[in-house]
Each structure stands twice: as structure tokens, then as C-alpha cells.
Symmetry: D2
Amino acid sequence: MSSKITFIGGDIRMIEAARFAAKKHKEVIIYGFDKLEKNFDTYDVTIETNLKEALSGADTVIFGLPSSVDGKNIFAPYSSKDIPICSVISYIKPSAYVFGGMLKEYIQKEAETKGIKCFDYFLREELTLKNALVTAEGALQTAMTETPHTIHSSKCLVIGYGRIGKMLSDILKKLGASVTCSARKESDLALIECNAMEAVNTSLIGKSIGRFDIIFNTVPFSILEEKNLASVRHDALIIDLASKPGGVDFESVDFESARKLGLKVIWATSLPGKVAPETSGKIISDTVFNILNEQKVRR
Amino acid sequence: MSSKITFIGGDIRMIEAARFAAKKHKEVIIYGFDKLEKNFDTYDVTIETNLKEALSGADTVIFGLPSSVDGKNIFAPYSSKDIPICSVISYIKPSAYVFGGMLKEYIQKEAETKGIKCFDYFLREELTLKNALVTAEGALQTAMTETPHTIHSSKCLVIGYGRIGKMLSDILKKLGASVTCSARKESDLALIECNAMEAVNTSLIGKSIGRFDIIFNTVPFSILEEKNLASVRHDALIIDLASKPGGVDFESVDFESARKLGLKVIWATSLPGKVAPETSGKIISDTVFNILNEQKVRR
Amino acid sequence: MSSKITFIGGDIRMIEAARFAAKKHKEVIIYGFDKLEKNFDTYDVTIETNLKEALSGADTVIFGLPSSVDGKNIFAPYSSKDIPICSVISYIKPSAYVFGGMLKEYIQKEAETKGIKCFDYFLREELTLKNALVTAEGALQTAMTETPHTIHSSKCLVIGYGRIGKMLSDILKKLGASVTCSARKESDLALIECNAMEAVNTSLIGKSIGRFDIIFNTVPFSILEEKNLASVRHDALIIDLASKPGGVDFESVDFESARKLGLKVIWATSLPGKVAPETSGKIISDTVFNILNEQKVRR
Amino acid sequence: MSSKITFIGGDIRMIEAARFAAKKHKEVIIYGFDKLEKNFDTYDVTIETNLKEALSGADTVIFGLPSSVDGKNIFAPYSSKDIPICSVISYIKPSAYVFGGMLKEYIQKEAETKGIKCFDYFLREELTLKNALVTAEGALQTAMTETPHTIHSSKCLVIGYGRIGKMLSDILKKLGASVTCSARKESDLALIECNAMEAVNTSLIGKSIGRFDIIFNTVPFSILEEKNLASVRHDALIIDLASKPGGVDFESVDFESARKLGLKVIWATSLPGKVAPETSGKIISDTVFNILNEQKVRR
């Protein structure tokens, strides 16, 4: 392919995403990273300092995760200048494809008025799944760093058996931990047993919570509030991995009560970008190219 | 509980189900197994030879899987006499709960006219999941028995990444096989990669099918027809695990073409009852009690 | 390599070994299989019916496992004629290498008098290890076939933590069984715990033996004698995998007592040749070539 | 048991060891930790500040790991005062048992002159094995922390297939890495294959070293010297886990050449005490009690 791909803003993951893109494509541009040290390694990625130049003739434009925080500018923590959404849209050619994470409706509307096709890569199941895996590894790393004992032989509770709960419990079990998972549905409890772990109904967690060394919360509900926290062992570690649907961070654990009880709670959200920016960048890049390929097949 | 539980007909799994039920309940009756050797071990289960007696006062009545084949009689391969559905219904008291696998609509309708509550345990996700696990083990056993080599180091293809595909590929990988899984959806392909196996799009299977020692089909579609079969290695083993939605057996593999090509194909459906009747009976028993417990909570 | 390799006698594994050899070498001959159906598939292996012809000019001569049973003839269950050791030796050229499994001293002595170098491939650790793996898979297959329940969720005891005990317990655990291993040395008990399984001292097995569904014995000592057997559950399965040092079969389980107690005991020795002759043949072939390569490096 | 157990010096692991000892024994004393914050939690362990008092009547005396560094005093990094070996010995009663890690010969001799029995717990295989497991987890934690990608999908090389190499490679594989192990002996190479990983002869490592993301060295030989390092990818991570036999730290990797080549090398020795002091303390405590139990059986 001889197309031009331009990355506008986003965090460090987008540089990695651009690098992976550059392995397959000739012209890959990034814009919005001038605050990073000048000599960061860009391999075959071209750094462009003029926004119009960066977008001129681009077939594919990719924003970060999230695409925008304030609703006016593209999210670009490493850019010294603001990047107004309206300017960006005005420089993109009508036949281009635009990709963003948590792409706000107004960006989509404005772009589509011009005939630009918009896609939110954060809505894609393959990205969600692979991010869950990175989160699970990050949770393991956090647990290893924050405890004076091994994961092997430790008693772990994983609250919630969604994507992250499944992958995390699997990893912990493979490392030799004794793993209990909680869920509410009979079918999830059955699946936990199929995976050879102990299953407990989330509503009955209080009864057994006192026997765990490490407690991972993956559900965005208030399971770990005062009453249940009071039964937690005082030398246990609680790691909160839950984020509200839509990706907004949210303290599922009652931190105030935990502090009063002297419990150690770690609020570990947005792990993928922190613990493995390279892998996270690759996941975004792969997802964007999956969408592009599907579009080509349809045409 | 001091309730009376009666099992009517079904295959050997229902005797095992009755035994598990008898571990928790005082009065457990079975009817419809007089063709089995007289001295089969029934522990705390009572064999009743009179249908009316068996059902008299029963709070819970459980049929086999399926409940009926001909639409007139309860499925009872080990009974020397027919067991007419209408007689059975007439002997059940109105407040009773009736459970059956693939319970036909007309049985439900007739029972519910009398005020009897009916439940099809085969529709429950926890039974489907646990049966998938038994099927996966049965598929492994079949592969071990039918090949002159170990699973370890063998090259396996699992077509389809539903419940059975997931569990089977996981087992094969743990035993040291080199495992490739096929799926159609990007999200399933991503999950296969998350599980550290090679992913291939089912539509492109033909390209690589020639390098596998064992091919497991889990999808009820015609993937393994003449064209793809022609590329299969002549010493490979094909195991067909697919059944049509609704549980009706269905030859997904083109057996005729396979025979002409000299390929070894094993049609391995309904494995749970064959390879592990005891576990299968326990699964049915557990599922019935899950439903009963939910009913009690609701009352 | 343009050398001539001749296989003399042995069981079905040697045909598989010859086939693997033929993938790398031009001239591979087998002799001693005339009782097998004429049209068995030999690929690039040449069947020779004249012993002298078969051995004439051979650089490498390979006997089966064991090489001889009666001390006079080469072990050749599929040969209609006896194959006298002295004739074989007389036809082999002095610069040749001779390989055999459990090669008796007198064969070695006689061959070495002529200047022929002899090697016992059965003494090689890599063959022992890989055979242990095949045995572990065979033990799993046997357990699956002989029980009405799944390996998943079953309670397994593995007596002895040598090569087979290690590999078998690992497989059972991965399939979701609850696995206890017994050993005598503190270091082995520690290793069992490192591998996240329950460890029990072999001398104290009697105390807990009543809670297991499947008991695998891997040690050639009388652990499972009357006293311990009396505590075994009557529906448990016992699989005896032990063979005396040197490979001689030996009933480690007290079969007489087991029978009186109504226990189901399976004497499963020499599994590799039975459950996976192809893999077993490859192991022998690989081992012979390892030895040959080492000899070349030394020269 | 109503015996008195006294811990003298050592690092933070010994406090943990004392705590585990106090779970089973009434009188557990520690001496030599006055430099630690006063209010560190000692549960049922008594802090004694007078050496003579601490040792008076003690049945069991336990030193740290190592027992002594300078040959004159007991190793006690958290003690504000020196603890002379000769004083310690003079206060111990003749019937006592003394345990130390890497117990120097002169300590043993002096103690045994008085009739005191001495044991070096660091020589015990169960301690070595369990420490290897802690080291493997610590190596994983280090790799996770020091790389911008996940362990899943990364290409790992583990040089050496001893205790640490075995356990580390097993963990990496379970986390979804692609793992290659190197060894020199055919039997180790066979075992690597049995464990479903790629095996490479250590002497041929140079040929393929360029394809790995993470390289773990576990052997105390100079494998990673200039020539091999030159082929390593510049974004790879090298983790050196080797220590000289006897436990003396030793830089197996040529750090000078690595620095010149711009490679990232982490020298990660003595991991158990750093990443999991609690578990390490338990291992020491368990080992000491294993030895004590064996002594009682012999008496």
C-alpha cells in the first residue's frame, strides 16, 4: 500500500502504534509529540511539526485513546500547542478514514458532514479482549510488586468473571496460587468450576473474604464497601481494576473505609498504557488495520 | 428436605443423576430401568416397578435427555414397557415440578394445563458449559485411542471457537500439542491469540489444512467438504463433534468424500453420555437443583 | 549421508523407527517382519527377506527393544524364522555400529571381538524421559477409558515422584483433577509443593488413600498391599505403571488382595509400544542418531 | 513443644522466619534487629536486647543467610552492635541445635567442640528448590517491570535448564510467551522438548540469539560475552540470574561489552530476600523444622 497514515496526538501508546504501522506502510506521520525528548527513537515514522502538512493528503488519520477530553481539542498530552478539532477536520480530505478511541459523537458528526468515514476502535471486541490481557498482566505485576510473598501458594480472590476476571484468574492459577472467583450468574459459576477454580456467589463474598491474601476487584459496583472490608485480613492487599462502563475511572472500592481499617488498597486503572505501552500501541494499530481491511472487503 | 423425587426413564445417566440426588434427599425413586441387570447398584435410590406408585405424591419429576423421541412416550430405552406421556402427566400432582431435557412443547402444555410447572434443563447455560467440558475430554480420549502417536507434539486444528472449541483447544495445548484454532469473527481470532494459540480464519482453512495430524470439527456447517478434504494428509485423523442447533445429530463432515479419499473420520457426537455417564448424571442433577433453588428464592 | 542402515527384528515400533530414519537417509532396510500383512505401508523403507543381503555393507544395524529374549536369537515377533545372533554378527562388517535396546552383554562381547561398536539406546536418559512422557499419556488414556467420570474434578493420587510421576501428575493437574503426589524424600515433597500439588509422604499414604478416585502407582515397591488396599474406596480405579529396574515387568500391586476386596486394578506396563508405537519408534530413531552424532564429533 | 527458639541476626527474612516459628512454638526470641523501626510488628515473637539472655536456655539457635560475612561476627545488618561468634557460642547450651545458612566451617568446629549440633540449612535441597521458585517469580517480576511489552507473545530465551531454568521457563510459557531453553546435555534437551518448548544447544546459542526479546541467564559461565552479545537485538532485555556455586555473586554476563553495545542488562541476584522476604522466611523456617523433625526420629 502506498497510502499516507497520520497519527494526531494521544499518549505514548500512539508512538508505538505508529511504529507498528510503519512496519507495513511506507508513509507514517506523527504529530503532537514535541514535548517528548527530541531524540526519541522513531524508526521509520516521520515527525511532522505542521498540522496542515501532517494531514495533507492523508488516507488514514488516527487519534489517541481518548480522542478528546475537553470536547474542543484532540487529546495530546505531549503537544505544546492545542490541536483544535475543527482545524483537524478541515485539513482531512473527504475520502479519508478517521479512527479514534472513545470518539465523541460531535467529532463523528462533523467529520461525516464532510464525507469522512469515522470509526471508534475502542468499541471493537478484539481491542477490548487484548486490553483485558494486558490489564491482567499489569494486575499480576502490581500484586507481585506490592506483596512480600510469592503469588505461588497465595490465596487470591477475583471478584467478577468478565474478560479481565477470566484472564487474570487463569494467570494466577497457572502461577500456583489458590484462586477463588466470584460471579452472580449460575452459568458463570459453572464456567469457573469448568476452569477448575473455586466459585463463590458475589452476594455471599462476605462470608469467606477473610481468608484471602490478595483481592482483585474487576466489577464497577460497590462490592468492597464497609461491611465486607471489615472482614478482610489486615495484611491483605486489595487491587481495584474496575472502571465504569465507557471507560471512565470510578472508585469501586470504598477507599475511605479501607483507610480507616488500615487496609492497603491500590487503585490500578488504565493499566495497559502504563505497564505495556508497546503492546498497547500494537493492539490499537492491529485493530485499526482490521477495520480498514473489512472496509476494503466491503467495497 | 423431605420431598419425594422421581426419575422416569432416560438413559444410564439418569441412574447416576438419581444417585447424586439421593446424597441430599431421602426419598429418591427411579422407574423405567427393568431391562438393566437386576443387581445394578442403586445405593439409596429405590427402584419402583409401578408407574402410578412411582409418581404418587412426587414433588419433583425428572425425565431423561431427551424427554421423548416419538412424542407419545417418555424416552426410556431400558424399560420393557412403553411409558405413555398422558399416563405420566395424569399421575403427577398439580403442585409438582417437572424437569426434562429437550422437553417438547406438547408435554409442557399438557402439564401446565394441570398447573404443573415445567423446566427444560437442557436450555440451561451451566449444563451446556459442563457438557462442553465432558465433550472436550471425550474428544481427547477419542484422539488418543485412534492415533498411533502422542497428543504431545502433534499438530491439531480445532475448527470453531465456541464452548467446545475453547475447552478442547485449551486441553490439547496443555498436553503439549501445537494447536491452531479457526473462527470467523475478529473478536474470536483475537481471543485465540490471547490464549496463545495460532488463529486462522475458517474461510481460509484450506490453505493450511494439509499440515495437521488431527482435525476436530465443532461447527455444524459444511467446512470439511470435498475441496478442503482433498488437502488433508492421508494419515490425519478427523473427529466430528458438531451437532445441529437443538441437539439433533448432523454429519458436518462430508463422509462420502472422506471415504473416497481414504481419510479416517470419526463421528463423535453425544460424547457425554458415552465417555462419562457418571459426570453427566451429576451435571443433570446439579442443574435441576439449581433451578429448584431459584424457584424457592422466588416464592 | 549415503550410509546403509538396517533394522533387524523388534516389534511394530521398529517399523516406525525405520520410517523416521528413511526421512533423512537414502538406504534404510528392514528385516524380520514377514508375518505382518504384506501390504503394510513402508514408504521409503526397503523390505529385505534375506538376512545376509540385509546386513551386507550396512554401516548401522539396529535391533529392537529388547534386542533378545532367549539369548540365542534376535527378538523378532513378526519374523517367521529365527534370527540367530551369531549369524547376524557374522554378517556385520567390522566398522559398523550396532544399536540395541537392553543389549545383552554377550551380544556386545561377541560384536566387539569383531571390532563392531555396540550401544544400548535403552540406557540413554533422553529415551527414558521421552518414554516417560508417552507412558504418562498412556496412563491418562487408560484412566479416561476405564472410569465413568471425567478426569476434571476427580481426585487423583500419584505414588512416586520420579520421571513418570512428575509428568503424569502435571498432565492430570492441567486437566483439572485434584492431584496429590507421594514421595519419600523431603526434596521431592518440596518439589511437589513447588508444582502446586498436595504432597504426602509415601509412608503415610494409608491415612488418606480412602479419598481418591484414581490411584496411579509408579514405584516398583509394595506400597499397595493388603493393609493400604483395604482403605481404598470400592469404586476407585488403581493403575499400576511400575516396572522393575531394568525394565522387567513386576506386579507392584498386590493383585490377589485387590481381587478379594473387589477392587479394579489395571496392570499397565510397556505402554509406549501399545498406545503410541509411532512416537515410540521416533524416540528410538532420534536416540540412535543422537549417539551416532556424538560418535562423529569424537572421531 | 515447650522449647525456646532464638534467632540471632540475619536480614529481614529472619523476622519472617521467626514469625512462622511462633505460629507453632511458644517461646520465640529474636536478637539483632534494634536498628529497625521500634514498632515493627512482631506478633508472638519476643525482642530481646541482651545477647546472653536471648541465648540462655535456648534449645534451638538460628542464624541468618549467610551466618557470617567477616568470619568474626554473626551477620546482622540490623544490629547496632557487633555480635561476636565466640560470645554467641559461649552462651549456647551444649545440647542445643544450631542452624545457619552457609555456615562456615570454623563456626561448626567451635560449636561442635562444645557438643552443640550444627546444621547448614542452605545445603538442603528443599530450600534450594523453593528458593528457585521464588527466584523464578522474581525474574518474571523484573522482566515485567523492565519491558514496555507484555510477557504474553514475547520471545524469551532461558539459558540453562537447572532448577531455576526449569521453573522460570515453565512460568513464562504459561503466561503465553514463546519460550526457548538452552542446555548442553542431550537428556536436558529431551526434557525441554517433553515440556513442549523449543530446545537449543547452549553452544549454538549465537545463531539464534538475535530473535529474542528477553534473555534470562541462569548459568554461572560466560555464555553472554562479547561475541554472542553482538548478535542480541538492541531493544532486548538481558536478566542475569546466575550466582557462582556456593552462592557467591558473580557477573556471568560481560557487562562491559554489553554497555558498549548499548544493551540493557539487569543483574538480578539474591532475588528471594528482595522480592518475597515473607515467603523466603517461611522457607527457612520450614527447612529448619524439617531438619529438627528428622533428628527427633533418629533419636
